[in-house]
């Protein structure tokens, strides 16, 4: 069994609310979770689910009401733990009077590198996130996507073993998302542990060894994406084409959607061969036959839909 990179036991966070701050709003409810070394873990959940709260608790930015957490065997209260982790906050914001190069150099100073090492690292990581040309531009002139890249660079600048990324794809265009995904995959190949929250389920499905779904501050499910979604086939999708002026078989035509002389139809698994036979008889050209399985997105929406109403953030009055 691999060592645990992240161990979270009963982590709970209540925030005081109201004018007199006497009521408490539970933002995270007894989160217990572990992530192995080298694993890529996706933290999923709707807005306000407690994902950022969890990250902030692990980073020591806020303090837990109850529970403990350890990263690579060290308590989150131990400042030495921070040598082994990197963190990119959600929608990162940095000192806008600095250039990207100066900011990375500033952060590198917290890791006892010599001036030469710092210079070399900063140049290398600016290149990695595609900001070499903008390295000497003040951050106040950066776009949101560029700030996101600086955020990633500062998080991995010191080669941390565990990397926390809070919504790393948020605000990025498709190209930027692809680049961030490639960076995460490269970190994964290097054996780093990656813990990231995201709204983009397709990214989680592609990148993660395991995912956890948080709703209303409670962990609703954890596992490999393929374990969480049922392997049952929901139906079969058939794409086919008919001759110019031709028509699809009548039994399929009612259910099919047409684009030019192409058709798409979903049939139950049991009716597949009958449908294929009808298409053969009508001399249609079959383009593809694909089994339809539930996606992580289906699983996510099912969980969120089922739990959200029941798990509205708990409020309790202080005695």
């Amino acid at each position: 069994m691999k060592n645990l990179a992240i161990e979270i036991k009963g982590l709970t966070k209540d925030y005081p609310v109201g004018f007199l701050r006497k009521r408490m709003r539970r933002s995270l409810d007894y989160l217990t979770l572990s992530v192995e070394e080298g694993e890529t873990f996706g933290f999923l959940g709707p807005n306000g689910a407690g994902k950022t709260t969890t990250m902030k608790l692990l980073m020591g930015l806020i303090f837990p009401t109850a529970g403990t957490a350890r990263i690579r065997g060290r308590s989150i209260a131990d400042v030495r733990m921070h040598r082994e982790i990197g963190y990119m906050p959600e929608q990162p914001y940095f000192y806008d009077y600095l250039t990207a190069r100066e900011l990375l150099d500033y952060f590198a100073r917290f890791f006892s590198y010599s001036a030469t090492e710092r210079r070399e690292r900063v140049t290398r990581f600016l290149e990695l996130v595609g900001l070499t040309a903008a390295g000497d531009v003040q951050l106040r002139k950066f776009s949101k996507g560029m700030l996101q890249r600086v955020g990633i660079a500062q998080a991995i600048l010191h080669d941390p073993q565990v990397v926390f990324l809070d919504e790393p794809m948020s605000g990025l265009d498709p190209l930027g998302r692809r680049e961030v995904r490639d960076i995460i995959l490269s970190l994964k190949r290097q054996g780093r542990t990656i813990f990231f929250s995201t709204h983009i389920l397709s990214d989680a499905e592609v990148l993660c060894d395991r995912v956890g779904v948080l709703v209303g501050g409670k962990l609703q499910g954890v596992g490999a994406p393929e374990e969480l979604v049922s392997m049952d086939v929901l139906g079969i999708e058939i794409l086919f084409e008919v001759h110019t002026g031709g028509a699809p078989p009548r039994s399929l035509a009612e259910r099919a959607t047409q684009t030019g002389n192409r058709y798409r139809v979903e049939v139950p698994e049991a009716d597949l061969y009958a449908a294929l036979e009808e298409l053969r008889v009508s001399e249609a050209r079959i383009i593809s036959v694909t089994p339809l399985r539930p996606s992580l997105e289906d699983y996510f929406f099912r969980l969120v839909g089922r739990q959200k109403a029941a798990l509205e953030p708990t409020e309790a009055r202080i005695a």
Binding site: K56, L61, F63, I85, Y93, F94, Y97, A155
Partner: protein, 259 residues
């Protein structure tokens, strides 16, 4: 000594420079040039007195304004803009961050004060064409202003850990003004007929920083010798007070949940 506070201090200084905080020096320079020319024409025999008084008062006021207005945003701004998130995820303790912020602003104030002192010296030389032995008192007065600014910076930083800039400005300014009138508060404790009021005044007198003791501008302007004992006393007093305030700030900030 950890290098963490030094890194934060240098960045704080850089922020002040890039935010054009030192532009106030231009106003100071213009004021000193104007004063020197004017004083040369209207005051016979008291040019030095007027220039030293005016110069040292301006150095003090400019410094106090900078210490308060930059100081109250030192921590608050980093929390509001969330620049602290990435920083505190690095291996830096919260107290190291606070010490760095304090040292960074103090460095800014020292540079600012040093440049203004040079301006004052230039104006003084312009009006009297020479320096006198008693002018050492001017440097002592400048040193006391710096001690005063260190105290004000620590106070502003302390309030910045838990309060908005507007409230922090009011608190810091309030304590400064009360501290300037420390001898009057002591007077109340000595001459009050009410024992309760006397006790309260005594408590407030000992609690508040005594800014009155740092003001030797008049003595410096008149060329009086400032006792060495006062230099030691003020240095020790300011150092201890700053340490206590920074410890209190650290205690507050270390338990603070960031938004």
């Amino acid at each position: 000594m950890s290098t963490m506070p030094a890194a934060v201090a240098v960045n704080t200084f850089r922020e002040a420079v890039r935010d054009r905080v030192l532009y106030n020096l231009i106003f100071f320079a213009l004021m000193m040039i104007g004063a020197a020319i004017l004083v040369g024409q209207i005051s016979i025999g008291v040019e030095r007195l007027v220039i030293v008084n005016l110069g040292l008062s301006a150095i003090s006021i400019f410094g106090i304004i900078m210490a308060i207005f930059i100081g109250v945003g030192l921590v608050y701004k980093e929390m509001e803009k969330r620049t602290l998130y990435s920083l505190l995820a690095k291996p830096i303790r919260r107290w190291e961050f606070l010490v760095g912020k304090f040292a960074g602003l103090l460095l800014t104030l020292v540079v600012n004060t040093a440049l203004m002192t040079l301006g004052l010296a230039a104006a003084l030389f312009y009006v009297s064409r020479s320096f006198e032995r008693s002018d050492v008192g001017i440097l002592t007065a400048v040193y006391f202003i710096l001690l005063e600014l260190a105290l004000i910076t620590a106070l502003a930083l302390f309030f910045s850990c838990f309060s908005s800039p507007m409230l922090s400005t009011l608190y810091t300014l309030g304590i400064y003004v009360a501290g300037v009138f420390a001898p009057d508060i002591k007077g109340v404790s000595e001459y009050s007929q009410s024992p309760a009021l006397a006790s309260l005044a005594r408590f407030v007198y000992y609690l508040l920083p005594n800014f009155h003791n740092f003001n030797v501008i008049a003595a410096a302007a008149h060329g009086e010798t400032i006792p060495f004992a006062l230099v030691w006393h003020n240095t020790l007093y300011a150092a201890l007070y700053v340490i206590v305030i920074l410890l209190a700030a650290s205690a507050v900030f270390s338990g603070r949940n960031l938004k």
